[in-house]
């Protein structure tokens, strides 16, 4: 069993695995002995935990957009978050908004994902001069959909607008559009964007 000393700081990957419960009992026990006697490594773990707490806080406030998994969306609901959800098929459009009580807005973009090796997502927002391309997003081919959690403050600041998103399958031959999804956004009456 490897014993860590202060001359051999614990690798960051190991600290991450420890915090997330991925180490076997012997490795965990050895690492804890080191953490209790090493100010440097315990500070590094503290910094990791603080960063994780920050990510959690930003997520709860809807402060970032992200492609997420369906089980994660279920967890957010279990935790009492108010989630507004829109489901669109390829070529579909939806009238959408964000209400004052909404914590998060999630779009379910249905697409034929079987056989897709790389998936890119492109946002076309009238407020931006050029489209925003998210390359190589994570997806479960079996699910047949992408769940996109939107940035809540960004949505709240939006005026009436029609934006669209595209999904592309990318391979050596080039790219192929899997779907185009149109969002006809109307601000909630009396809100910042109205």
């Amino acid at each position: 069993m490897r014993r860590f000393t202060c001359e051999a700081p614990i690798p960051a990957e190991t600290l991450e695995g420890y915090w997330l419960g991925e180490l076997d009992p012997d490795a965990q026990s050895s690492l804890e002995e080191h953490l209790f006697s090493c100010a440097r490594c315990s500070s590094r773990l503290q910094a990791l935990v603080d960063l994780g707490a920050g990510i959690r806080a930003v997520t709860r406030e809807g402060g970032t957009h992200a492609v997420i998994g369906a089980s994660f969306l279920g967890k957010l609901r279990e935790d009492g978050m108010n989630i507004r959800e829109y489901r669109l098929g390829p070529g579909g459009s939806v009238a959408c908004t964000i209400a004052p009580q909404d914590d998060l807005v999630v779009s379910r973009l249905e697409a034929p994902l079987q056989g897709v090796r790389r998936l890119d997502l492109v946002f076309h927002d009238t407020r931006l001069s050029t489209p925003v391309r998210l390359e190589d997003v994570a997806f479960d081919p079996q699910s047949g959909e992408i769940l996109l959690a939107h940035n809540t403050p960004f949505l709240r600041s939006m005026g009436k607008a029609t934006n669209y998103t595209q999904l592309f399958a990318v391979d050596e031959q080039g790219e192929r559009e899997l779907g185009r999804y149109t969002f006809n956004h109307t601000p909630w009456p009396g809100s910042q964007g109205s």
Binding site: A12, L20, Q46, V49, A138
Partner: protein, 201 residues
């Protein structure tokens, strides 16, 4: 060796503090030698040094901030009383004693026999005043740094740290192998840390 003032505020003062602070064994011996009196500075230094480590242990094993805070109090009270009574025979192994106590209190709690009341009743002790160093993250900067990550990195970090989930679980939800999740997670964390601290890539 004299202790520097305990309420070191600046990073520079904290670094000085770390360099000049006595080692664990010396602290333990000072506390034991002062009994039945109190070496307030040594006791406060011990609490400042070990409270964050006990709290991390508690949060890791209990996944509850309030329970972790109770653990910090219980273990520090127990440790100080053992030192004052001369019951710790190997002061140089103070860190091991504190880890062992933390483990025991957590195990007792899981068995339903939480020793908290017993510890506090038995020793009827209060902890010395002490201040822990704390870094506060700039949440606006963190949002900007998260937005700058690659999409996969953002997905993995959000789904991992919202509820401290392991790679197997996050990978299953995103169609990624656990090993791949660990690589993406580590890379994303490093980018985020450098961005938040302003450290050059």
């Amino acid at each position: 060796m004299n202790l520097l003032p305990l309420r070191a505020a600046s990073p520079y003062a904290r670094r000085l503090h770390m360099v000049d602070a006595p080692d664990d064994g010396e602290l333990a011996r000072r506390i034991s030698a002062a009994a039945p009196g109190r070496d307030a500075a040594a006791e406060a230094e011990l609490c400042r040094r070990f409270a964050p480590r006990i709290r991390l242990y508690g949060r890791r094993h209990l996944r509850n901030d309030a329970a972790a805070a109770d653990l910090v109090q219980d273990v520090l009270v127990l440790t100080l009383e053992k030192l004052r009574s001369g019951a710790i025979r190997e002061p140089d192994k103070l860190a091991s004693f504190i880890l062992g106590s933390s483990r025991q209190v957590v195990v007792d709690g899981r068995r339903g026999g939480w020793r908290r009341e017993r510890i506090l009743e038995t020793f009827n002790a209060s902890l010395p005043d002490f201040t822990e160093d704390a870094e506060v993250l700039d949440s606006r900067r963190l949002e900007d740094c998260l937005a700058a990550l690659a999409e996969r990195e953002r997905s993995v970090l959000v789904m991992t740290f919202y509820d401290d989930r392991p790679a197997e679980e996050v990978g299953a939800a995103l169609g990624l192998a656990p090993g791949n999740v660990r690589v993406i997670r580590h890379r994303g964390l490093e980018k985020l840390r450098r961005c938040v601290t302003g450290e050059a890539a």
